[in-house]
């Protein structure tokens, strides 16, 4: 790991200012970034820790009834405190292992947009809103591809706002060595329709399976997905599973998610 300065601002305004320094990079839990730095895949000269910013931590409800989670809130806190959105709390409770959940944050996870990460599925599947230091971005406009998001240089995720669905479920097929999903599906049923988001499968990162959404919006049962399938062509293929296998898993996990939610 190359050396760097560390700044520990205590407000969003100070963090944004610190990120104005040359080659500065934010760090929340460091559970992805520290291994990346060790591998010398990133070499910032300044690391701006977001861990000491009280206004970026915690779970609360706003007037619209949305659950609002501060960008620097750990997975462990979401698991314990997002009681009004059990499917989301359960997603957070299954990320990695206890020590990872005590450090890793929702802001770091959605900023990183790993193609196999859990939160992107929960955020896109809920139609959540990503709040940054200068704007609000709908989930549909935020995830742009593998490790790519709509965030600009120096922009930080300060909060994520989730509307609460009638029912929802996150079905994760574990890749036991990494503890990330091999494929996972988040299904959420709202009064005006169903959203289905899939992680771990596509070479373009998290995506919505609109065909399944349409079928489920008319008939919210696992059998509504009979006969639907995804192509393995643009799916991740690696030693853990071929694209075709992942495409098949998408259908199986989606059915299980619907069965568990309904």
């Amino acid at each position: 790991m190359y050396n760097f300065d560390v700044e520990m601002p205590t407000s969003i305004a100070d963090a944004v200012k610190a990120l104005g320094r040359e080659e500065a990079q934010p760090m929340s839990g460091g559970q992805t970034l520290i291994p990346t730095l060790k591998a010398r895949l990133a070499a910032p000269s300044v690391l701006v820790s977001l861990h000491s910013i009280p206004e970026m931590k915690g779970v609360c409800k706003n007037d619209a009834g949305d659950i609002c989670i501060g960008g620097a809130t750990t997975h462990a806190t979401v698991a314990a405190e997002a009681v009004d959105y059990p499917a989301l709390a359960s997603l957070a409770a299954r990320i990695g292992d206890p020590a990872v959940r005590n450090r890793g944050t929702i802001g770091g996870s959605v900023a990183n947009n790993d193609p196999s990460a859990c939160y992107p599925a929960g955020v896109l599947g809920s139609g959540a809103t990503i709040v940054t230091n200068n704007r609000e971005i709908a989930a549909d406009d935020y995830f742009l591809g593998m490790f790519e998001t709509a965030l600009e240089e120096g922009e930080i995720v300060t909060e994520v706002k989730f509307p609460i669905p009638e029912v929802a479920h996150y079905e994760k097929h574990l890749q036991p060595a990494s503890r990330f999903p091999l494929v996972a599906v988040f299904v959420a049923k709202f009064a005006d329709g169903v959203r289905v988001a899939i992680t771990g499968a596509s070479e373009n990162g998290v995506f919505r399976w609109t065909e399944a959404e349409n079928a489920l919006s008319g008939n919210f049962s696992a059998s509504a997905l009979d006969g639907l399938s995804l192509s393995g062509d643009k799916m991740i293929s690696d030693l853990h599973g071929s694209g075709k296998y992942r495409a098949h898993l998408c259908g199986v996990m989606a059915k299980r998610a619907v069965a568990a939610a309904s």
């Binding site: 190359y2 300065d5 460091g30 450090r103």
Partner: protein
């Protein structure tokens, strides 16, 4: 260089570190406390688990400066000052919960964190909680048994396999 101050196992500790210094390096190299092990250095194995402000963390995946001012607990603080093992350590010894012992500091610190939140876990609870602790000697069965025994539960029905 940054001057750090923290409490380690109830005692004041301080030292100078670089930005990139990991908490585990600070413990092992600055303080000479080599009980906390580095198995993988890639956040996978849990040999480096310590408690920071009461929470289990992988000390190979946290910067030392982030622990400035914190209360840190390591394996060295688990036994009594006269060397008497604590309940978890004694249970590991009684139930053969260690072979080479490399993973043991992390196992004991993870077990302590589990039993603090969940004093009477089930076998499944223990296995799930240890998701991030890898034993290369693969002695999981007796590790789980030791933790069940440390929680005061009857382990006579848990056979050693």
């Amino acid at each position: 260089m940054t001057q750090l101050k923290m409490t380690v196992n109830g005692k004041a500790a301080s030292g100078e570190v670089e930005g990139r210094t990991l908490l585990v390096q600070f413990l092992r190299e600055n303080l000479g406390m080599t009980g906390t092990h580095v198995g993988c250095d890639t956040s996978q194995c849990g040999a480096c688990v310590v408690h920071v402000n009461g929470e289990a963390v992988k000390s190979c995946t946290m910067l030392a400066v982030e622990a400035n001012g914190a209360e840190v607990a390591t394996i060295e603080g688990q036994a009594a000052p006269d060397g008497t093992l604590n309940t978890i350590q004694q249970a590991f010894q009684d139930h053969h919960g260690l072979q080479c012992g490399f993973c043991t500091p992390g196992m004991v610190m993870s077990a302590a964190a589990l039993l603090k939140d969940n004093p009477k876990p089930t076998v499944d609870d223990v296995r799930h909680y240890l998701d991030g602790n890898i034993c290369r000697c693969t002695g999981y069965h007796n590790i789980v048994k030791a933790i069940m025994a440390a929680s005061g539960q009857d382990v006579s029905a848990i056979a050693a396999e």
